[in-house]
Amino acid sequence: MSIILDKVNYVYSEKTAYQIQALKDISLKIEDGEFIGVIGHTGSGKSTLIQHLNGLMRATSGGIYYQGQDIYDQDFSRHKLRGKVGLVFQYPEHQLFETTIFADVCFGPKNQGFCKKDAELKAFTALRSVGLPEDYWYRSPFELSGGQKRRVAIAGVLAMEPEVLILDEPTAGLDPKGRDEILDQVAKLHQERQLTVILVSHSMEDVAKYVERLIVMNQGSVLFDGTPKEVFSHYQKLESVGLAAPQVTYLMHDLRKHGMQVQGTATTLEEAKHSILQAFAEKGKPIC
């Protein structure tokens, strides 16, 4: 029952010549502990959508409910909501500012009103959970590599102990290994703490590998909402809105066209490999 969006609309520059409707009648239900991917081309409304979830942006019309409470209610503390729904922006390392990594991660909980000791305890746990070695903690954040800086920024949000973690393209600009490390860490947090995770991404391969539910945004509306398998089976429609399916899905469709009995729904490398090997086995053909 975690987060409910009820017919949410958002209009930029309302009643001016530049009026643009960024969200159109969005109704969604995000359950506790889900791992959700959000994809869509630039300008499809992804970022606008996620900024509504922690009350950074206020819907032009419609309602948003967090754990059953209306977040636009006068008595509802949106300040507290921002601690519960942690948002990691794109290129979060640009927001690092403190002299040491540890001090930077303490900033969030201190701002929430925790005393120094509690804030430090939370920072300690958060830095541990993103897997940054301890001998880095008292260095300047600016000496770190891109991937490490990003971990520190994620730790800064985790230190506020959110129930929901939203990441806006956390892997943009990272090398392949850095990409895998960050996403593996996020998946681990999701598993170990039952943290609800919402991952905005441009990489179809990444969302296919990690998420359980995939939401596709197009022109301010939800185009598809389902498991990655269901969503990527509409690959032709996805292409028409500037997206695509993972490379292996196309491969599987090509193989089927050549009369091979493989699963057309495979979206990850493992699934594709398994299905191809199985097709060979079923035909009774020795593979060596």
Binding site: H41, K177, G178, L243, A244, Q247, L255, L277
Partner: protein, 283 residues
């Protein structure tokens, strides 16, 4: 003809304390040899901090060599008199399109470069038209850049470089901030410039798929060139690439995994088409 020739190129970032004493030295380029022929499409791969961007900044002399030699377009990069001549012939496109666009109308933005180097007005307009056409953005010439998508903005930035009529364009992670469509648009524009106009291309990227169409690939690690070869040659060494924190395209990885399981698929598969054919031959 050689366009770029680097021999044992060294660059060090030196950090000093308040008294000017050296605190630490980071060797970003460690005796790098690089050869790029006129009209070639060369890709440079490497993890974050491997020295790719430092190398790129040398190629149009935003940074000066700390050791070794570098010749660009037959001119010595160490000679300060050659600075402007080299920069005119080696244009640079950076990662973030928003940092590179300065005018409020697309065509004025593209005109900024040639205007700066003193091209006559008639000629400027001819060049603006030609370069916007070459990246497929001519229909947006009178638009405001801030209403464009990321891929479109990046193509405007490329047009701006093209209008200076350089022999070479260096692109430092031009697609890192773009969605799949934007990435495709930019790459298609880059390939077209290389094939149709013969512009030398140096592409730095983290997306392995973008490297497939390059003539040659260099892999950097810790400031050194550790691998070089054709995309096929490089991507057939899956394990070595992983050691350098890199990856191979998903299709290549699948082919590699299937080979490990015993399927007789040739090494260095790059495209979907190739893998489909290889599998069907066995089936």
């Amino acid at each position: 003809m050689k366009f770029i020739e680097a021999r044992k190129l060294i660059h060090e970032y030196i950090r000093r304390d308040e008294e000017g004493n050296v605190e630490s030295i980071l060797t970003a380029l460690d005796e790098v040899d690089l050869d790029v022929k006129q009209g070639e499409f060369v890709a440079i791969l490497g993890h974050n901090g491997s020295g790719k961007s430092t190398l790129a900044k040398h190629l149009n002399v935003l940074l000066r060599p700390g050791g070794g030699t570098l010749w660009v377009d037959g001119k010595d990069a160490e000679d300060a008199d050659n600075l402007w001549a080299i920069r005119q012939n080696a244009g640079m496109v950076f990662q973030n399109p928003d940092n590179q666009i300065i005018a409020s109308v697309v065509e004025e933005d593209v005109a900024f470069g040639p205007e700066n180097i003193g091209v006559p007005t008639d000629e400027i307009w001819k060049r603006v038209e030609k370069s916007l056409k070459s990246v497929g953005m001519i229909q947006y010439r009178e638009h405001s850049p801030n209403k464009l998508s990321g891929g479109q903005k990046q193509r405007v930035a490329i047009a701006g470089v093209m209008a200076m009529e350089p022999k070479c364009i260096i692109l430092d992670e031009p697609t890192a901030m773009l969605d799949p469509n934007g990435r495709r648009e930019v790459l298609e524009a880059v390939e077209r410039l290389n094939k149709e106009k013969g512009v030398t291309i140096i592409l730095i990227t983290h997306y392995m798929e973008e490297v497939i169409c390059a003539d040659r690939v260099y892999v950097m690690d810790n400031g050194k060139v550790v691998m070089q070869g054709t995309p096929r040659g490089i991507f057939s060494q899956v394990d070595t690439l992983k050691d350098y924190r890199l990856d191979v395209p998903q299709i290549t990885l699948l082919a590699y995994e299937l080979r490990k399981e015993g399927l007789q698929i040739p090494e260095g598969i790059l495209t979907r088409q190739e893998l489909v054919e290889a599998i069907c031959r066995l089936y």
